[in-house]
Symmetry: D4
Subunit: 166 residues, 8 copies
C-alpha cells in the first residue's frame, strides 16, 4: 500500500484531532507544511483520504438504532450476487459484508424507531432469494464507526502496515 511512517503520523493527526488544517497537522507532526500538503494530495490520489465533505451523525439526526441482520441466501447459480445487489438497494442499510461462518451476508442499518425496524424486516423477508434472517436489536451504542483511526495506536499502525512481511 506504500505508506510510510510520515504518512501514518499525518493520518493519525487528522483522525485524532478531527482536523483538516494543514497548519495544525504540520504543528502536531513536526512535518514541514509543504510536505504535509504534498502528502495529503498523494494520499487523496491513492484513495486513502476520501473526498472532502461533512460527516453526518446519524443518531443525532434521528436514526439512533443500529440494527444488524444476518442473511442466509438461497443457494444456487448466481444467487449470491443477486441477493448482495438487492441488499444494497434497501433504504437505511449502511454496511453490507459477505461472510464466512453460518451466515451469508451481514447487513447493518441505522433506523429511527420500532416501526422503521418493522418495515425493514418486512423488506428483508419479502426479498427474493432470502431464505432466513437473524436480526440483532442493539440497545445502546458504545462507539459508532466514526473516525476509526482514533482506535489504533501509532505502534499498531507501524507494526501492521510497515514492518510485517505479508
Amino acid at each position: 500500500m506504500d505508506v510510510d511512517r510520515k504518512d501514518l503520523r499525518i493520518l493519525k493527526a487528522i483522525a485524532d484531532e478531527e482536523t483538516r488544517s494543514p497548519e495544525r497537522i504540520a504543528e502536531l507532526t513536526n512535518v514541514p507544511l509543504s510536505t504535509v500538503h504534498y502528502r495529503i494530495d498523494s494520499l487523496q490520489e491513492r484513495g486513502i483520504i476520501r473526498n472532502d465533505h461533512y460527516d453526518i451523525d446519524m443518531a443525532a439526526l434521528g436514526f439512533p438504532i443500529t440494527f444488524i441482520v444476518e442473511v442466509i441466501a438461497e443457494h444456487g447459480e448466481g444467487y449470491r450476487e443477486d441477493v448482495g445487489d438487492r441488499l444494497l438497494e434497501i433504504d437505511g442499510v449502511t454496511q453490507v459484508y459477505f461472510a464466512a461462518g453460518d451466515t451469508d451476508f451481514i447487513a447493518i442499518s441505522q433506523l429511527s424507531d420500532r416501526s422503521m425496524v418493522e418495515s425493514l424486516v418486512s423488506e428483508f423477508e419479502s426479498m427474493d432469494g432470502v431464505v432466513r434472517t437473524k436480526s440483532t436489536f442493539t440497545i445502546s451504542t458504545l462507539r459508532d464507526g466514526h473516525e476509526p483511526l482514533q482506535q489504533y495506536s501509532m505502534e499498531t499502525l507501524v507494526d501492521e502496515l510497515l514492518d510485517q512481511e505479508r
Copy 2:
C-alpha cells in the same frame, strides 16, 4: 430532533455529492446561499453535522478485513460496564454495541491480515469478564459504513423524521 425538510435537502446534497461547498449545495437544493450557510452552522451546533475533517478509507490504508465479534460477558454486578469499557480500549475495534438477543456486545474491527486477527482474538479471550466469543470473518465488503445518508431516499427521510407520530 427539530430538523425540517430544508435541512434534510441540504444534508442529502452533502452526502450524495460528497461535497462541502455551500455554493454547490445551494445550487443543488435551490436553497439560497445565505440560508445554506445559516443552516449548516445550525446543524453543526446541534451535532448533526460533526467536526469538519478528512475521511480515511481503512481498506485502502491496509485494513481490508472487517471482523465482527459477538461477546458474552460474565453475569454479575457491574460486569457489563466493565466489559464494555475494556472492549473500547482494544486497538482496531471501531464499533461497539450493547445488544438484545443471545449476545451481550457486538464489536466490529478493521484488521490487516490473519495474524492481526489472531492477536485480536487472543486479546478478547484473555479479557477479564468475557465468557465466550463468536466471531465472524468477512470475506468481502459490499458496502462499508461510509456516507450513510446516501442509503436513504428523500422520501424515507421525510417519512421517518418529519411526518410520523412517535
Copy 3:
C-alpha cells in the same frame, strides 16, 4: 374442574361481549337470570372468575414493548427456587414460567422504550444465579393476552373440558 356446558356458555358470553351484566349474559345464553347469578357466584368461589376489577391496557398506558427473556440458571441445590423468586421481584416482569427444553425460565415483561429495555437487561445480568439470558425484542403486537377465552370456540371448550377422558 367441575364446569358444565351452562358454565361454559356463561363464561364465553362474559369474554366475547366483555360484559359483567347478568341481564346481558342471561339474554345471550338463554340461561335464566337467577341461574346466571348463582353460577357466577359459584365460578367466583371456585376461583375461575377472579376478583372484580378494571383491566388496564399496558400498551395504551405507555408500555408498548413486550420483551421476552429466556433465563438459564446456575445448576445446583436450590438455585431454581432462588432464581424464580428473584425474577418475580423485578419491576415490569409480568409473566414467569419454568420450562422444559433448553432454557430454565421464560420471563415476559412490558416495557416503555429502549432505555427501559437496557435497565431490565442489566438487572437480569447482575442477578445472582443467572448464567445466561437470551432475549427476544418484539417489534409489534398482533394480540396481547387480554381476554383469552375469546380465542376458544365453544366447540373446543366442550371438547377439552367436558367430553375428554384424561
Copy 4:
C-alpha cells in the same frame, strides 16, 4: 399518553387492591371521590382502562399449560401478514407477537393437556407459509400475565411515564 401522577396513583390502587370501588380508590390514594370518578372516566375514554368485565383464570378453568411457539414463516411478498392472520385464528392462541431475532412470530397459548398440545402442534405444522416451529413446553407457572401493573413500583411508573425525555 398524557397521564399524570394522580392517574398513576389511581391505576396502581386499582391493580394492587384488585378493586373497582371509587370509594376504596379515593381512600387509598387521598384523591377526592369526584376526581376519582372523573379520572376513571377519562382513562376509559383514552383506552387505558379497558371495558369493565370479569377476569377469567384459564388455569383454574382447565387450561393450565402455557405453550410457547416460535414460528418461522416462509419468506416472500405478503407472507408475513398472511401467517400472522392465520396464527390469530387458531383456537387457544392467546398472545401473538412479531419479533426481531431468529424467529418471526411468537405465539403463546393456554392448553388443557398433552393431547391438546398435539392438536395445536399439528395445526401449526399444517399451516401454509410456516417453515419451522420451535415450541417450549412450560412445566409450571410462577406468574401468569394477570394484573400486570402490580409488578411495577410507583417509582418505576413515574420514571418511565412522566419524567423521561423520549
Copy 5:
C-alpha cells in the same frame, strides 16, 4: 388406571427379581398365592403386563450401537402422519416419538456397526417429507431400557400412581 398398592408390589417384584414364578412373587410380597394368580391375570387383561415371551438383548445379539435421530419433517397438511408412518417402517428403528421443542420426531435405533449407520442415515435422508435430521452417535450404553420398573422406588410408584390428585 386402577392399580392399587398390592398390584404395585407384585409388579415391582416381577421387575426386580426378573421372575415369572407366582410362588416366588407370593413369597417376596407376602401376598397369598391365589391372589397373585388373580392379580397377574387382571394386570394382563388390562394390558399392564404384556404378552408372555422371551426378552432379547440386542447388544449381545450384535447390535450394540444405539443411534438417536431427531427428524424435522416438511410442514404441510398431513405430512406429520406420513413421516411418522415411514419412520416406523425402517429396519432397526425401535423407538419413535413425536416431540415438542425444535424437532418433530425422535427415532432411536439399534445398529451393528458404522456401515449399518451409513445405510440408516441414507434411508432417513432419501425419505420423502424429511427436511433435516440431526443424529447422535452413542459411544457407550450405561443402561438400556430393559426392565424399566427396576428404576422406580416403591415410594415413587405409590406417590405417582396412587396418592396424587391429577
Copy 6:
C-alpha cells in the same frame, strides 16, 4: 457373536409372535423341537435371550410420558464417571447413554405427569457436576422400545450378523 441362520429364525419367531412356546417356534421355523430347545438354552447361556419374566407396559401402568434429557457434564478429571453414576440413581430414568456430538449423556425417562417432570428436572439441575441440560418433552409415542427384533427384517439380520466382513 456366533449366531447362525437357525438362531436368527428362532429369535425372529419369538419376537414376531411374542411367544415362548417351543412347539409354536418349531412349527413356525421348521426347526425340529429338540433343536429349538437346545438352541434357546444356548442363546440364554450366551446372554442373547435374557431372563424369563413378564414385560410391563409403562404407559398402561400410568407413566405415558417419555422425557429425553441431554446432559452436559462439567469437564474435569473423573467427572464423567461420577455424573454417569448419578444419572443411573434417579428414579424413573430407564435409559442412559454416553454420546458423541454436542452433549455428554442422553437420559430417557418414563414419567406420569407434569409434576413428575418438574421433580425430575429439579433433580437433574441440582445434581453435582451437571452444567446444563436440554430436555425434550414428547407429545405422543408412535413406538416404544418393546420387542425390538420385530423391527428388523430377516434379510437385515442375516446381512448384518452373518455375511458382513467387519
Copy 7:
C-alpha cells in the same frame, strides 16, 4: 489387518524418523535388514504403506489457510451420492467426510488467501443439492495432518491394533 508388533515398530520408525532407508530402520528397530525389506514389501502390498513419493507442504507452497466447510445436502433419493461426488471435484478440497450429527458432509480445503476463500464459498453455494453451508475460517495451524503416526505412542498402537478384541 494382520499387523504384528514387528510391523508396528517398523512403521513407527518410518514415521518418527521420516526416513525410507531400510538400514536406518533396521538399526532403529533391531530388526534384521532382510526382515525389514520383506516386511516393507508386505506392508506395501497390503496398502498400509502407500506408493513411494515426495510429500509436499501446502502451506510452504502458498496455501496456508485451512478452511473447513460443513455441508447440508438436500434430502431425497440419491442426493447424498451426487453431492459427495460434486464436492470431490472442487479445486482445493483435500478432505471430504460423510458425517453423523447435524451436518451431512465435512469438506476441508487448503487455500491461498481471502479471494480464494470467496471463490470456494461461491462454488459451494451454487452447487446443486447443497442447502446450507457452515464454514470455519482457521486463523493458524498448530499441526497439519502430515505424518500422523508420529502422534501415536507405541503403547497405543499395540493396544488398539493387537491386543483388543473387536
Copy 8:
C-alpha cells in the same frame, strides 16, 4: 514464495503420478532432467518438498474413523496457548487448528473403534482449561488428506500462486 510455472509443473507431476523418479518427471513435464534435479533440490531446501519418506495409510493400518472435535477453551490470560499445547500431546490427534467463529480449536484424530473414541472423549473432557467440546463422528471417508496437490488443477495453481496481486 518464489515458485514459477516450471516448479508447479514438476510438483503437479509428483502428486498426480505419485512418483519420485526424476526421469519420469522429466518425461511428463518436458523439463530437462538436469533441471528437474536442480529444481527438486531447491524445492526441498525451501521446505516445499518435505523429507523423503514412506506415506502410511492410517485407515488401512486399522484407524478408519476420522473424529473431529471442536474445543472451546476457558477464557483468560494464557489459556489459549496452554490448551493448544495440551491438544498436541494427545495420542491420535493428527491435525489441530486455531479457529475463528464459535469454536476455539478444531482437533482431528484417526481412531480405531468406538472404545478408542470413548477414551479420546474422556481425555478431552478431563483436560484442564477445556470448557466444552462438540464432536463429529464421521461415518465414511470420501477423501482423506493424502496427496492434496492432486485436487488442484494446473490453472488454479497458476492463478493463485503466480498471477495474482496480493
